[in-house]
């Protein structure tokens, strides 16, 4: 009669330990910024709202690349409000690219998980707790936000923009079969060691960097979870999809097609 009881107890201990290890998890949110003084206070306020409510341990690392608009001063004001534990400032002197921004941010990250997102409010922090929940359920190496499945979507895109986006996505899926539906999105949660490993292998610049990250992840057999996200593009008029971006994308696609 004692045996089953003991087993239950040990099972309970295992569960407690698991909960403890989860309680030890910390999420470092990397926010690379360049001229985001209007958006930075809002995005930080939102992150704190949602993560304080969900009870996860977190820090926000602002990596400002010498914005001339005073983004760093805004960040300092916010640091006074939220504290130096929550808001960590790791500025750099000038614009040096996304990959090195992540490396720079990670060097100072105290979390065992890293969240990367854009600071321009196109990525809503309400999805971060969803990323975390999914990661815990499946012990995924990375969780990627996706605009292309389920309730995911975009706001502020016209027909042409959608057509280019869907067309490029179709072609990429056909040629690379990446095992993830949104390759160029940059709203993701990584295990820290996984992100370190991936960043070290990626050579692309700009937004195709995100595509290379997920392709390399597949190549290294990392597990990928996906959460549908809404992408609110509030930057009208300034299209990020010009001719040079399309050429950049095509080059990256062919490079990855031939090498992975």
């Amino acid at each position: 009669m004692m045996y089953p009881k003991r087993e239950t107890r040990s099972a309970k201990m295992a569960r407690d330990n698991e909960e403890k290890s989860r309680a030890g998890d910390k999420y470092s949110i990397l926010l690379p910024t360049y001229n985001e003084r209007e958006n930075l206070p809002i995005i930080i306020w939102l992150i704190c709202q949602y993560l304080d409510k969900s009870g996860y341990n977190y820090e926000i690392i602002v990596i400002d690349d010498g914005s001339p608009d005073g983004t760093l001063d805004v960040a300092k004001q916010l640091q006074k409000i939220y504290g130096e534990e929550k808001i960590v400032l790791r500025p750099r002197e000038k614009k040096l690219g996304l990959g090195t921004a992540y490396i720079h941010g990670m060097k100072h990250a105290t979390g065992n998980f890293i969240v990367i997102m854009d600071a321009d409010l196109s990525h809503h922090p309400k999805f971060i707790p969803e990323f975390i929940k999914l990661q815990q359920e499946g012990n995924y190496d990375l969780v990627s936000g996706t605009r292309y499945i389920g309730n995911g979507g975009v706001y502020g895109w016209d027909f042409k923009r959608k057509l280019v986006s869907r067309g490029a996505n179709f072609l990429t899926q056909l040629l690379l079969r990446p095992g993830a539906s949104d390759l160029t999105g940059s709203f993701r949660l990584y295990k820290k060691s996984v992100l370190e490993n991936l960043v070290a292998r990626c050579v692309s610049k700009g937004y195709v960097f995100q595509m290379e990250m997920i392709i390399r992840a597949r190549q290294l057999n990392y597990s990928i979870g996906e959460v549908p996200i809404t992408f609110v593009d509030r930057v009208y008029g300034e299209s990020k999809l010009g001719g040079s971006e399309i050429i950049q994308f095509a080059k990256a696609l062919l490079h990855l097609f031939a090498t992975t």
Binding site: R37, E38, P41, I42, W45, L46, G70, D73, V74, Q77, L78, K80, I81, L121, H124, Y148, N151, G152, G153, V154, Y155, G156, W157, F159, K162, L163, S165, R166, G167, F170, L175, L176, R177, Q219, T230, F231, V232, R234, L256, F257, A258, T259, T260
Partner: protein
């Protein structure tokens, strides 16, 4: 080292070419049952590419038209921006300084 995607495609292409060459050779024989359809056999790669093209256009357009427009998400965000500005101001954050 696993095959690259390029190698996989080339392998697939080679396999298909072999199969197609066999069909073409058979169709050229006067008494083979494929002889009646020789033109169809010859045009097979083009037909398949054409069909795939139609499929691709259909799928991409379908996905463009079913791409969610997140009106609610945009509204929610706009409301939250107002809330954030109010709340941050009450905590001593100065929006004027950054304007």
């Amino acid at each position: 080292m696993a095959f690259t995607k390029l190698m996989q495609w080339l392998l697939g292409l080679a396999a298909f070419s072999g199969l197609w060459a066999t069909l073409v050779a058979n169709a050229a024989q006067p008494h083979h049952f494929l002889h009646k359809h020789e033109f169809l056999v010859l045009a097979l790669p083009i037909i398949l590419i054409g069909l795939f093209g139609i499929y691709a256009v259909f799928i991409v357009l379908y996905r463009v038209f079913t791409f969610n427009n997140c009106e609610e998400a945009a509204e929610e965000l706009n409301k939250q921006i107002q809330q954030a500005r109010k709340d941050l101001s009450s905590k001593g954050f100065s929006f004027d300084k950054i304007k």
